[in-house]
């Protein structure tokens, strides 16, 4: 029997999808702003974050309402619980895009420190992980979710590489580079944090699809 509840779950699914699209756009535009030293693009991303915050609130309410009124069980319950958690992760990812943009606004006032090489690589990984984690949610694909989780160490390594390069080749040698180097270092850290949130989403998707908790239980990842 087609349940009224199924329509409501579909609505929730659509809202998460919308949140995912807006979040991905925020990351993409923050990286573009960084690459092109585009202050106005950065400021737009910062201003747009308010909309994402409002959707986060609306999705939270939608989830609470669904739980209160439908007493969901099994797969329905896991779906709503997952939506609630993914919602928070997506909103944090969007905030990190805002953080990147705030550093961009500072950086464009100063001369270019160095051509960007590893940060764009790291951002490409972050964007792919976020996209794949959302796709995994949408298509209930725990295999794809597990691939996202396996990509995370690469992001950590790149972040470490960027960090040591900025410290050893710039800050240690020339104190006048410190403010710019710190901004870039923070950006690398934000990107790595985005990857962590994508990993969280992926872990939640595995739980949603398989009912297995893989977070802090790597042994369950088979």
């Amino acid at each position: 029997m087609q349940r009224h509840f199924d329509d409501q779950l579909k609505d929730l699914h659509q809202e998460i999808l919308k949140m995912g699209v807006m979040t991905q756009e925020a990351i993409f535009r923050s990286i573009e702003a960084l690459k092109n030293r585009d202050k106005s693009q950065a400021e737009e991303v910062i201003a747009n974050d308010k909309k994402i915050d409002l959707i986060e609130n609306a999705i939270d309410e939608q989830c609470i309402d669904l739980i209160a009124r439908n007493q969901p069980m099994a797969g329905d319950l896991r779906f709503i619980a997952t939506a609630l958690k993914i919602n928070a992760d997506l909103e944090r990812i969007a905030d990190l895009a805002v953080d990147i943009c705030q550093r961009v606004v500072e950086l464009v006032e100063k001369p270019l420190l160095k051509p960007l090489i590893d940060i764009p690589k790291l951002s490409a990984i972050a964007q792919k992980m976020v996209k794949d984690s959302i796709d995994a949610f949408v298509s209930r694909d725990s295999g794809l979710a597990k691939k996202v989780m396996l990509a995370d160490p690469e992001a950590d390594q790149l972040r470490d590489k960027v960090q040591s390069e900025l410290i050893n080749d710039y800050m240690a040698k020339d104190p006048s580079t410190v403010d710019r180097a710190v901004a870039l270092l923070l950006i690398a850290r934000y990107l790595e944090r985005i990857c962590d949130h994508a990993t969280n989403i992926a872990e939640d998707v595995v739980y949603m699809v398989e009912g297995k908790i893989v977070k802090h239980h790597e042994e369950n990842l088979e």
Partner: protein, 262 residues
């Protein structure tokens, strides 16, 4: 951001009570009830046994008139008329405001005759082919047509409980009411049949205003748009179902819906 609780748009009130009191002899069963029931919405009334919810429902089509020693005061406004006044047209009222009971109570007649019964009472009988159309339309409205189209002459008493309850709803629909009152309409049904009646209610609210009294809090939460909580004859809280079930304003409502009371 508008909270979900406030987001649903209120519609025209179909029934409005003001200062409604009711006594059974010395016992006051309704105390100054003020409530408004919105058009094309499902409103659920919840509360412990004896809180007055069924009594209130029964005032809306003056069913309590049948009980000896009943006195009512205040207002129940329906289409601009205070229907508790002694000169209210009861036949017209009961055509406008139909009631479905806890136990399905079809007449010991055929399926068709059950549906056409109200039309005859109300002098709405028309041409033969028109009657057939009404039977078909009413059964379709309650999702029974496919099951019963070849069994229209069969006794309604031979139907399953779920079919009987749907037939009782079809019987009301045939006389084109405005409001359907439902007093624990699913309490004799199993969970699957209950779910199907709830889906039916969602279909029916497009054309009718529905007020349901239920002990089943989960059902009220699932099916209604607005909800009222009654206790000891008083309407303690009334609001959107989302608000009442996620953030009740009154501690007594919270205690009841979380199972701490009653």
């Amino acid at each position: 951001m508008i909270p979900a609780a406030a987001r649903h748009a209120a519609t025209r009130p179909v029934i409005e009570t003001a200062g409604l009191n009711l006594w059974y002899g010395d016992f006051q069963a309704l105390k100054n009830v003020n409530a408004s029931f919105s058009e094309n919405m499902i409103t659920a009334i919840i509360g412990p046994s004896g809180c007055g919810k069924s009594t209130m429902l029964r005032t809306f089509n003056r069913m309590n008139d049948l009980v000896e020693g009943v006195r009512t005061s205040g207002q129940i406004m329906i289409d601009g008329v205070n229907i508790i006044e002694p000169d209210a047209d009861l036949l017209d009222l009961r055509k406008k405001i139909g009631m479905v009971f806890q136990r399905p109570n079809p007449f010991p007649l055929s399926v068709s005759e059950n549906i056409l019964f109200g039309l005859k009472i109300h002098g709405m009988v028309s041409e033969r082919n028109e009657l057939d159309a009404i039977v078909e339309k009413s059964l379709k409205a309650v999702l029974l047509w496919d099951d019963l189209k070849d069994k229209l002459r069969r006794s309604a008493l031979s139907l399953s409980l779920e079919q009987k309850q749907k037939l009782c709803i079809a019987r009301l629909i045939a006389v084109k009411p405005e409001v359907l009152l439902m007093d624990e309409p699913c309490s004799t049904l199993d969970p699957q049949a209950t779910a199907r009646i709830e889906e039916l209610m969602r279909e029916l609210k497009r054309d009718y205003t529905i007020i349901i009294v239920t002990h089943n809090m989960q059902q009220a939460a699932r099916v209604s748009d607005e909800a009222g909580f009654m206790l000891l004859g008083e309407m303690i809280e009334f609001g959107s179902t989302a608000q009442v079930f996620t953030a009740p304003k009154d501690k007594r409502t919270e205690d009841y819906i979380t199972g701490r009371y009653g």
